[in-house]
């Protein structure tokens, strides 16, 4: 089973978060943007490790997390693929993440003495 190379951007200690999370985020980004479609094959763990210059365990951990999140699935002996519900799961987890950040933002705003209107103005500017 051949698979196209993942174009998920460099995995770097200079970027935010542990390396495996960067791989998870990269795959989610590709799925959300429909550059990776349901059924698309992902590289094997070892091939992707060699490509990204990270340890095998790092890629394994990223794939495990993506599988737990329902974004990819693997079939013994066949490989790893984007799940049918992958795009939806990615959007849903993105939505959860946004809500969490908004909750944090609301708390920070309250602590800084901002009103609800101030916060909404800020949000509008950022969006």
């Amino acid at each position: 089973m051949t698979s196209r190379t993942l174009k998920i951007g460099p995995i770097s200690p200079a970027a935010e978060g542990p390396l495996y999370e960067q791989i998870v985020a990269g795959v989610k980004r590709e799925v959300a943007a429909s550059r990776l479609l349901p059924g698309a094959a992902l590289p094997s763990v070892r091939a992707l490790a060699a490509e990204l210059l990270v340890s095998v365990i790092t890629v394994k951990r990223a794939y495990e997390e993506l599988e737990r999140g329902g974004i990819i699935f693997s079939r013994q002996g066949l490989g790893t693929f984007i799940a049918d519900a992958g795009a939806e799961e990615t959007r849903r987890s993105g939505c959860d993440a946004a809500r969490q950040h908004l909750r944090d933002a609301a708390r920070a705003a309250r602590e800084a003495g901002l009103s609800e209107k101030d916060l909404l103005d800020l949000l509008r500017k950022e969006f």
Partner: protein, 288 residues
């Protein structure tokens, strides 16, 4: 089956005593072997390669026993060390022509490709090679074979950034086959944190810790905290790294205690910082 299993290995060298050391190097993975200077890394790797004999304990390599099966082991293991010296052979080409005769698994096309990648030529005189270029030659010789185990002792010393990247790619290509294994000793801990699946840390001839890289790095966390009553937290799993007034910086072993447990003891945690392998190393290895 592990690629390498050391069982209670001991070796006495002058005033230095290694072991008893037990160690496992799994297949299909890269294992980092780290420790301060003089910890016994090279002594251990030498024993695995049959350079020197253990005073006690068992050394199993690829299912064979050292020193009994030394020949079988050496034909399956490729070894790189800054101590390898090929100066007597004059030119790079002569060394390659000489060593290839030893190895039935030598791949000439691969050798040519590796020489290109590392940028060394057959006509170069060995005495005139830089330290880094000599390492490159050792790497070419090790990687041009179809070995099952790659033992690398300080393979990045003197290598430029480019050659280091080539080496990392080669290492990860090597373990694409999950019956092979890499054991690498280096002081470039940030490289190893990225590349290695497993890590064994030794100090003063003894094993400090061994396990998955992500587990080791994730197990410890640095916490800055304010003390409520001015007393330092002398608890299992806590190492005090620094303190000043009511401020303290702690190393927490999360297996023993989570940062959240500090609050219950009257501490205000002001920051929680994940650690790099380098920081874990510094925290676990006592200063001489």
């Amino acid at each position: 089956m592990n690629a390498v299993t050391l069982t209670h290995v001991e070796r006495r060298l002058g005033g230095f005593a290694l072991g008893p050391l037990s160690l496992e190097v799994p297949r299909g993975a890269v294992t980092a072997f780290i420790g301060p200077n003089g910890a016994g890394k090279t002594t251990t790797l030498d024993l695995i390669m049959g350079l020197g004999t253990a005073d006690a304990g068992g050394i199993e390599v690829l299912g064979f026993s050292m020193p009994r099966d030394e020949v079988a082991i050496k034909s399956r293991v490729a070894y790189v060390s800054p101590d390898l010296n090929y100066t007597a052979w004059g030119k790079v080409g002569r060394v390659l022509d000489f060593v290839r005769g030893f190895y039935p698994d030598w791949n000439a096309a691969r050798c040519t490709q590796l020489m290109q990648e590392f940028g060394i030529a057959r006509g170069e005189g060995i005495a005139a090679l830089s330290f880094g270029a000599r390492i490159k030659l050792s790497l070419v010789i090790a990687l041009a074979r179809d070995a099952e185990l790659l033992v690398l002792d300080e393979p990045t010393v003197g290598l430029d950034v480019n050659a280091r990247q080539v080496l990392f790619r080669e290492i990860l290509d090597f373990v694409k086959r999950d019956d092979r294994a890499v054991l690498i000793s280096s002081h470039q801990l940030s490289d190893l944190e990225r590349l290695a699946d497993y890590v064994a840390l030794i100090n003063r001839g003894k094993l400090v810790t061994m396990g998955r890289m992500d587990a080791l790095v994730g197990r410890y966390v640095q916490v800055d905290a304010a003390m409520a009553n001015g007393a330092l937290p002398r608890l299992d799993g806590i190492k005090i790294l620094d303190h000043d007034g009511d401020w303290c910086r702690l190393l927490l072993d999360r297996k023993a205690i989570e940062p959240s447990a500090l609050a219950a003891r009257g501490f205000t945690v002001t920051s929680e910082t994940p650690m790099t392998l380098e920081e874990v190393f510094l925290a676990l290895v006592d200063k001489p």
